[in-house]
Amino acid sequence: MTTDSMIAARRADGRPPPGRFASKTGGSGLKLATACMAALVLLLAAAPFFADRGVIQILFSAMTMLALAQFWNLLAGYAGLVSVGQQGFVGLGGYFLFAAATFAGIDPLFAVPLAGLFAALVALPSAWLIFRLQGAYFAIGTWVVAEVFRLIAAQIKPLGGGTGASLSKAVADQAALTQAIVSATGMRAPAARDVAAYWLALVLVILATALVYGLLRSRRGLALTAIRDDQSAASSLGVDPFRLKLMVYILCAFGAGMVGALIYLQKARISPDAAFSVLDWTAYILFIVIIGGVATVEGPFVGVLVFFILQEQLSDFGAAYLILLGAVAIAVMVFFPKGLWGSLAERFDLHVFPVRRRLMWTMDPGRMAEPAQARTESNETENDR
């Protein structure tokens, strides 16, 4: 029973109905949203059968950006760990994939989750170093760590040093999934590799969103929100901020590492400056999340849409496009700090991925006597509305 129906029930007999409050995550139109989402996922999964290769490549790039945006949003928006160094883990993932596929002969698609694990493993000592820095200086620390990764990658001569390396066709196309697509559809190997990478990217986006959504709805998510709102109060209730933040940091490194591996499997060419680029893998991601809405699960979807529309329309303008993108991000931050989705969601009470806990009134047949406490609570709820 929602508070609305509870208030209606009280009007009838002048007294609140028996029952109690429970906190639930939920929202209006959830079933419709779920159905739309399922249809969209099916459509995207089927896209390689009717869309041409260029469209698949753009969709692939959008999927990878979206997955990165989800992880960055979890990191900065929910855990308060503002990082400008996620490109470090993207690059590590890409380099790991090149090394694993070239030197160890591992199936490149299987190397993608391994790259995530590798990034998570490296994130552990990095966290040990930079968690000593507070607030905005943490951001600088993440950037320094990413720079260290870039400079070290440039020293790895077997992978081309500073100029980078290419994945040989034989290695890049040896993935079992790519071969399966080739034999099933008769596609050429490079196109099949795009399709395989695209499907994997779609899976990654779904996993990333499900992971972030599931985490935020769990006990840990509640603890995370509590830390963000008031760290000392949360600690006094038994939440361990350090452990929770460390967990999120490592999880996000894992995600960025997998996405990075996938991106460079599809590109089949890697160099330190590209793989560890702060513009491509952090600035764009930041803008996507800001424009969509920081600390909303839906925001990155909206942000990616706006980002790719702007890019399709304006990318020919080069520097002017980036200037415009920066200006849009600043304007959104100043005038709509909650982003496009955040502002809309607040205005119209929209929740496709409800993570906010709401007070719900549930009938309690065992307690027919009117509890005094419930009445004051219900009054407060009414006033808050």
Binding site: L129, R132, L133, A139, G141, V148, V278, A319, I323, V334
Partner: protein, 290 residues
């Protein structure tokens, strides 16, 4: 032995330049706890301004600095009052993201206005002149950089501890609400502090541009170095920032003497090592950022 002394001298000279990059950051972090990710790009913009003023008016770059520094001061005040004051608050995310956006705008603005070619400020042969310091030749320009760094930090300290505006800076830094009750306008103080920081960017730009080539993309690299110097030195300590810059410079020159490709890496590793040994820096004076 001679190699070692050379490393120390070069390291100190390079570190002095990093300290000038960092002095403005140290000031604005101290006054308003703002981390400005566009600082490096603002230094690059100042370098282009010095170049334009010097070339179009036929002036020496040192005279051009006297014109550009006030310009940067005004730009800083405007930037702070129009934009940054709106996003400063308890949440660190908005100012960080706004300055990051600003950094992208400045980089690409400079790229479209001045092209990607690298430039250099004409220093009339000063860049190659050197003085003998005992058996060791020391460049005149690096010596001037060191002198400027010491002077800048000395003057900033005098400003903070011996003037009315400095007292207001410290009051706002300690407790901005109480300072406001005492009649200090936070927004105005923040504006002046950012103006000063950008004027210091112009000083940094002079020595950056006269000693080495610059192009629109080098801003973020300078930014990282500057923040490393601030963090090593300890938040709020200006002399600490100078020490931090010199530690970075020494590490870089020592790394480069083993393998030229290790210069930047050695500096970053020294920074991370300092985090392990002294996470709050050498001479911390402020409470950490919230």
């Amino acid at each position: 032995m001679i190699g070692f002394v050379n490393i120390v001298i070069d390291g100190i000279m390079i570190g002095a330049l990093y300290a000038i990059f960092a002095s403005g950051l140290s000031l604005i972090f101290g006054v308003m706890r703002l981390v400005n990710l566009a600082h490096g790009d603002l230094i690059v913009v100042a370098a282009y301004l010095i170049l334009i003023v010097a070339q179009s008016l036929g002036l020496s770059i040192f005279v051009a600095l006297a014109l550009v520094a006030p310009m940067m001061f005004v730009i800083g005040c405007a930037l702070q009052t129009i934009l940054l004051n709106r996003v400063l608050g308890d949440d660190i995310l908005p100012p960080l993201l706004v300055t990051f956006g600003l950094s992208i705008i400045l980089q690409n603005g400079a790229l479209s206005l001045f092209s990607a070619d690298s430039r250099r400020l004409p220093a009339f042969g000063l860049e190659n002149a050197s003085l003998p310091l005992g058996p060791f030749p020391v460049g005149v320009l690096p010596l001037m950089t060191l002198g400027a760094a010491v002077l800048v930090i000395f003057l900033l300290n005098r400003l903070l501890y011996a003037t009315a505006i400095g007292r207001a800076f410290r009051a706002v830094s300690d407790d901005s609400t109480t300072a406001q009750l005492m009649g200090v306008s936070n927004d105005r103080i923040f504006g002046v502090a950012m103006g000063l920081a950008l004027a210091l960017c112009a000083v940094a730009a002079l020595f950056l541009g006269a000693r080495a080539n610059f192009d629109p993309t080098i801003g973020p690299g300078r930014l990282i170095l500057a923040y490393e110097a601030v963090i090593i030195g300890g938040l709020g300590s200006l002399w600490g920032t100078l020490a931090g810059g010199i530690i970075l410079g020494l590490a870089q020159v020592a790394g480069a003497s083993i393998n030229p490709e290790w210069q930047l890496l050695a500096g970053h590793l020294a920074f991370l090592a300092m985090l392990v040994v002294r996470p709050r820096g050498l001479f911390p004076q402020l409470r950490d950022a919230s």
